[in-house]
Amino acid sequence: MMVAVFAAMTLALICGWFGSRTLAVALFFGCLVLSIGLFLFEIYSPESGFRMPWIQTEIDGTPQVRS
């Protein structure tokens, strides 16, 4: 997936330099969509994602007692 993101950006830059603007912009938006998708995958994947369970307070059922 990361390879696809970088490939899309590389092609967008090369098309922007040599080729048509329309194709470059299409690749640019393709890269944007892939990047957002990969970012969401990375942060929500239960196995390898970057979850932050320490701020998910709803799963902490233990009431805090103050003395």
Binding site: V3, M9, L13, I14, C31, S35, F39, F50, M52, W54
Partner: protein, 197 residues
């Protein structure tokens, strides 16, 4: 007649300022990406997936600037740059929140530069980009003369910009090869280069 000539001179000066501004932004981003790549290849600090996405976001900012130099100035191109600036900010904030209290076994953050780690630098960079674009719009405005001035009217700036664009494209190609070596066609990890094992 004299007023009209003076006005034309001022407009040309402001248009040149606009292109110099864009060139400086690209120069700074190229410098940041070069530093990140130096840390990767010299110190052996492999980038994490979110770090790689931050690099893509910076290259996306350069894409909008490149179109301004190749196809003439347009606020649509500025929009392209701003889109990826926002992506950069969101990813960097998320990564910094993650690094404040790392998940056990995922304490890898990387070297600090001037006492600040790369995700925090990314937030600073994104905020600087947004601030710089806001200041530029406030000072230069959205006037027609910026769109009317072709980059070819400023040959020295255009020449430097072309070299800088080619350098950014080279950075992107090197990163693509590096990502293929590090991640293969699957998920990315920071342990080693997957295809060099």
């Amino acid at each position: 007649m004299i007023d009209s000539h003076r006005s034309m001179t001022t407009q040309r000066f402001l248009a040149s300022l606009n292109y110099i501004y864009l060139l400086l932004v690209m120069f700074v981003i190229a410098g940041i990406l070069t530093t990140a790549m130096t840390l990767q290849y010299v110190k052996g600090e492999l980038p994490c997936p979110l770090c790689l996405l931050e690099r893509v976001a910076m290259l996306g900012v350069c894409f909008g600037i490149m179109l301004n130099f190749r196809r003439g100035f347009s606020y649509q191109n500025t929009g392209f740059s701003l889109l990826f600036t926002i992506v950069l900010l969101v990813i960097a904030v998320r990564q910094t929140l993650l690094d404040i209290y790392p998940r056990p076994g995922h304490e890898y953050i990387g070297s600090a530069i001037f006492g600040i780690h790369m995700p925090v630098w990314s937030i600073i960079i994104a905020l600087c980009l947004l601030t710089a674009y806001a200041i530029k719009l406030a000072i230069l405005g959205g006037d027609e003369y910026l769109r009317g001035a072709e980059p070819s009217e400023f040959p020295a700036i255009k020449k430097i910009a072309d070299i800088m664009i080619l350098y950014v494209i080279a950075i992107c190609v090197i990163n693509l090869v590096s990502v293929i070596l590090q991640c293969g066609f699957g998920e990315c990890h920071t342990f080693n280069y997957k295809l060099l094992q």
